[in-house]
Symmetry: C2
Subunit: 217 residues, 2 copies
């Protein structure tokens, strides 16, 4: 599958490399594809991944991954061209984080009556947005594995087929079948869940080796 | 320890019976302690538990458990007498649920900039409120056990000693050491986490046999 990953931060790199490693044809979109800062990565984890502008990656991908810091999401969508998202599955990995003080956990910029997931869906009304990969740190996004088993990925979105497509990628990346919470409004619960992860990260010495599992019987 | 449990719904009964089963001296508080609806329970799971008014239970307990439906929490605190909570550890099990349509999950009545935990702490400024037991259904509040292990309990509150006392009770009830997220404001994340539990409950045929675990390494 041709996949465009928008964003070259840790999340974008990890997901781009993971998806390329499963045989997908991945282009990573960035503000300036000629920047030298990515050179090492393209020779190593990013081998075989092409680089383009946000618009290049959005045009390229049959499925798109949004991996952009919250303050820049809307701008990147505008740079990429909202029309290039139309009809496509868009994995929204973002959390609406607002950092207020050095060394302290961020807070959610929006919530309760809105969410990043819903915002992205509003900004891309013709895209099929699926909230995914927002509840775990990037070191455990691909092939997550803990002594007590595998964590679970929760997703939500308005389009059932889009959630199936997202679910297939999630399983390819080494997760159990994703747990679908419902429509994109359920981002109002998954973004605070990311905050539980983030607060524990700050409380536990920035270890980051934790992830959620939904025990069932 | 003398424990007052306010509320005779499923959560109040389960926690009262669980705590009495660990040797604590438990009084359950209710609007009308003479009501016949509890008779069977006092002869069975509730054996050895005494009944009183909300004020009786609040006076009786060295530690108090709030297990009241959100629309009635403030009223029950007023009936019990806020002065009887002063200085005591109060386990707040509540979620600010608003039910809007039959057969559909509730939504949170407040969130993002406020929470039930913070509301309870405001209503009881001299109490030491600890959010606990809000993220799991009542059948798994005592001796939780799943094929893949034990779930985790997240707590938060402003008073470290109160969280230690809450943590001891949580472990007595068969949980691993509780995960402390921080001050009572973290209820803004734990109440949406309850919604993940509740939405999955609605999505999975009202089975309720699920609970969260924080995998770590």
């Amino acid at each position: 599958m041709k996949i465009g990953v928008l964003g070259t931060g840790a999340v974008g790199r990890v997901l781009a490399a993971g998806l390329a490693g499963r045989g997908h044809d991945v282009m990573i979109g960035t503000r300036n594809p000629a920047a030298a800062t990515m050179t090492d990565w393209f020779g190593d984890q990013g081998r075989g991944i092409s680089a383009g502008t946000f618009a290049d990656a959005a045009i390229f991908g049959e499925l798109l991954v949004l991996a952009i810091g919250w303050p820049h999401v809307k701008q990147v969508i505008d740079l990429a061209g909202p029309e290039h998202f139309a009809g496509k599955v868009v994995l929204d990995t973002t959390n609406p984080l607002r950092f207020e003080a050095e060394g302290r956990p961020p807070v959610l910029d929006i919530g309760h009556t809105d969410s990043a997931g819903e915002s992205v869906q509003r900004w891309l009304p013709d895209a099929r947005v699926v909230k995914a990969f927002n509840i775990v740190g990037n070191p455990h996004m691909v092939n997550p594995d803990f002594p007590d088993g595998k964590p679970d990925m929760f997703i939500c979105g308005n389009d059932a087929a889009a959630k199936q497509a997202a679910g297939r990628l999630i399983e390819e990346l080494g997760w159990p079948p994703a747990i679908d919470l419902g429509d994109i409004e359920k981002s109002r619960y998954l973004e605070p869940l990311a905050m539980v992860w983030i607060v524990h990260f700050f409380n536990s010495g920035f270890n980051g080796n934790h992830a959620f599992r939904l025990l069932r019987k």
